[in-house]
């Protein structure tokens, strides 16, 4: 039958083609060029000019980008062929990656480097250090591409003017109570419709980081001493949860149960948000919104407890997996991207603070608001601290359980104690399992 032949031919054709494809790709693209696989954001974080500059220095190395997604990362690890450079948040994930034997110890590379030496690297990159028991000490496993002290605030002065309220002082920290009080006074609302929100607290980057920061400032910790258990019902943690509940009750800003549809930035630039908890990087967004530049103010981080803290919440950067097959090329890229022209370009753009201290000189200060922001930032560096995370549970689980508990709590009116129990009950079994898996 002609029909069956053509079908058979089709199938045979497909099989042959697949075979040819397999063979040709197995042959590789020639012995003298390697391909560096990067899981990162291209071209927004790793720009085309970054790639072009690298290719000029190392013409034999081709760069391939893969989508930045957890699914893909898991799949690639399962297939035994992970990317060579992986984007991640140093603050939250370093202990986890190290304890699970995933990240390559970069100390030998740093030791031999001239571009990336300890004296040049900023204090923030301590978050990418882990010695097996404490985050912030030990060998380095990655670097931040840039960073901010994310608990700080940007104020829209027009909202304050409209409410005839004094905006906060740039260098004297408010307490969380004061911040909430100010927010109440500048919020304008009619029924369920807001014409101005008072506050968007610094939880957008990471809920867990925001909470851990508050708890640390109050002198407590959500983890026990060896990071195998959490206890959110301890007094410091419970009071942090309570603050969030109070904030939600006050109806001065968006919460997990009631987010801003267009995002905080859009509201801020439309003069509909008075205070937003973002770090220095937000200045980059302000740069592209000239209409707001004459009435913004950058302000120091509020203080929850007795200690003044202003940590970094994310330290987005990259690490190299132990099972990568191109570690030297990956390191070459590290040196270029973190230590040379790309880092200078990033500093000049004002989208974050550079990981190399000397490049602070490249931060923009042409416009008045940039000068003001830089002044405040310079005063803030000394309050930098490292938030500590547990290696036994993924930070996403921390963020997720807090988020879920808040949603339930806000909708059903639960108390801080109940919320704490919910979070403890979700996280402790995971921590236990994590400890067992890693042992």
């Amino acid at each position: 039958m002609s029909g069956r032949f053509s079908r058979r031919r089709l199938l045979a054709g497909a099989a042959t083609a697949a075979g040819v494809a397999a063979v040709s790709s197995a042959c590789g693209s020639g012995a003298d060029s390697t391909t560096l696989t990067i899981m990162g954001n291209h071209p927004s974080e790793i720009t085309d000019s970054d790639v072009a500059g690298f290719s000029k220095k190392y013409p034999n190395v081709k760069i391939k980008f893969v989508t930045n997604s957890v699914q893909l990362l898991t799949a690639m690890f399962a297939a035994g062929d992970p990317p060579d450079i992986i984007r991640d948040q140093g603050v939250q994930n370093t202990p986890y990656l190290v304890k699970r034997d995933l990240a390559e110890d970069l100390a030998p590379y740093f030791a031999k480097s001239t571009v990336l030496t300890d004296d040049k690297i900023a204090a923030v990159d301590d978050v990418w250090r882990y010695d097996g028991s404490v985050q912030g000490k030990g060998p380095r496993y990655g670097l931040a591409k840039d960073y901010s002290q994310d608990a700080m605030l940007w104020c829209n002065l027009r909202v304050f003017e409209k409410a005839k309220v004094e905006p906060p002082d740039p260098t004297t920290p408010m307490s969380y109570e004061e911040m909430l009080d100010v927010a109440k006074r500048i919020t304008r609302r009619k029924g369920a419709q807001y014409s101005a929100y008072g506050l968007y607290p610094p939880f957008d980057v990471s809920l867990s980081a925001g909470v851990i920061n508050m708890v640390t400032s109050a002198g407590g910790s959500v983890f026990n001493s060896d990071y195998t258990k959490v206890d959110f019902s301890a007094p410091e943690a419970k009071s942090a949860l309570q603050w969030y509940l109070d904030y939600a009750d006050a109806q001065v800003g968006p919460t997990v149960a009631r987010p801003l549809a267009a995002g905080a930035a859009a509201a801020f630039f439309a003069d509909q948000l008075g205070m937003v908890g973002y770090g220095y990087w937000f200045g980059g967004e302000v740069a592209s919104n000239p209409q707001v530049q004459d009435h913004v103010r950058f302000v120091t981080a509020p203080q929850f407890g007795s200690t003044r803290t202003s940590p970094c919440f994310a330290a987005v950067g990259h690490w190299i997996p132990k099972t990568s097959k191109h570690k030297q090329e990956a390191w070459n890229f590290f040196e270029w991207y973190f230590g040379e022209q790309p880092a200078i370009d990033r500093a000049k753009s004002g989208w974050g603070l550079p990981g190399i201290t000397a490049m602070n000189a490249d931060l923009p200060e042409t416009k008045p608001y940039q000068k003001q922001a830089l002044d405040v930032q310079n005063a803030e560096f000394s309050h930098m601290s490292v938030l500590k995370y547990s290696p036994y549970v993924a930070f996403t689980a921390l963020d997720a359980s807090l988020s879920q508990a808040f949603v339930k709590g806000l909708e059903s009116g639960l108390s801080a104690g109940k919320l704490a129990d919910l979070v403890n009950d979700t996280l402790n079994p995971l921590l236990e399992q994590g400890k067992e898996l890693v042992a």
């Binding site: 391939k64 989508t67 399962a78």
Partner: protein
């Protein structure tokens, strides 16, 4: 055999004297259609207006932005390699849906017209496949394709196309099952094998479903972003992936205006396909019987 009655098809243009009530009925129908169409259009018009607003205007309820920001469209095509993504998306969608439609028609025909032991069980398996959430198969499928070095190539789409889609198989099976036995029986008596019967008789009769199946399949392939995000590298991926992650600031926050503009552009190819393919629906079919 010539047909006894050659009837105008439902949906074709009829030439009939209008009855008095028909005109009023027709206007009422029109009004209803317009109202429903407006309801459907509102979100789309809102998307269009979003794509022409500036960032500061995003949070305002106005329909029309103060000035039309055509620059959003420029951003949409420059912030990501738009042209390249479009070409790849079109190519993959056509390959996958074309192959899948044909393959599914074949398989659906088998289930509808042929009898064999185990057919019932197999059909249940087909339907059961529909019930598998994509997450379940995605990572193991990556493992398989990684093993044979087919990731970062376009071959997975060829293979998925050839394997057909459970959804379309089900659809074709239902369609072919509704066709009476007579045509088939007569063809068999005349000595035709089943493939001829499929190709010459059943397939033409199912044109509307073929078109519908292709359009739906193309739309699904066009909108799929999970598989390209896993199997293709960022420079050679589809528009669906490009759209969902590409319009971000250096800090990773999304640029909604560019996203809205990009989405408007994204919809156009499928819209055009639909308008073109729609003729397949209008012409219903006047089949010519058995010989």
């Amino acid at each position: 055999m010539s047909r006894a009655v050659e009837a105008p098809v439902v949906g074709g243009l009829k030439h009939r004297p209008a009855r008095p009530g028909a005109i009023a009925g027709r206007t009422g129908l029109y009004v209803l259609l317009v109202i429903v169409a407006l309801i459907f259009l509102v979100p789309l018009l809102w998307l269009l207006s979003l794509s022409l607003k500036s960032e500061g205007e995003l949070s305002t309820p106005s329909w029309l932005p103060k000035t039309l920001q055509w620059s959003n469209f420029k951003d949409a095509v420059t912030l990501i390699p738009f042209g390249k993504y479009v070409t790849i998306s079109v190519f993959l969608a056509i390959v996958q849906s074309g192959l899948a439609t044909l393959s599914s028609a074949l398989t659906g025909f088998g289930f509808a017209r042929l009898r064999a032991r185990g057919k019932r069980a197999l059909f249940l398996v087909v339907v059961a496949t529909l019930m598998l959430p994509q997450i379940v198969t995605v990572i193991p499928t990556y493992l398989i394709f990684a093993r044979v070095h087919l990731v970062y190539t376009y071959w997975p789409w060829v293979l998925w196309g050839l394997a057909g889609s459970a959804f379309l198989i089900f659809l074709f099976r239902q369609t072919f099952a509704s066709i009476p036995m007579d045509l088939e029986d007569a063809a068999i008596i005349d000595g035709c094998g089943y493939f001829r019967i499929f190709w010459r008789i059943f397939l033409p009769m199912a044109k509307a479903v073929l078109v519908a199946g292709f359009v739906l399949s193309f739309t699904a392939a066009w909108g799929d972003f999970i598989t390209p995000s896993l199997f293709l590298d960022s420079d050679h991926t589809t528009l669906a992936v490009g759209l969902s992650g590409g319009y971000t600031t250096a800090a990773g926050t999304p640029i909604y205006t560019a996203l809205a503009a990009g989405s408007v552009l994204y919809v156009l190819p499928v819209l055009i396909l639909f308008i073109v393919a729609q003729r397949g629906f209008i012409n219903g079919f006047v089949t010519s019987g058995l010989k």
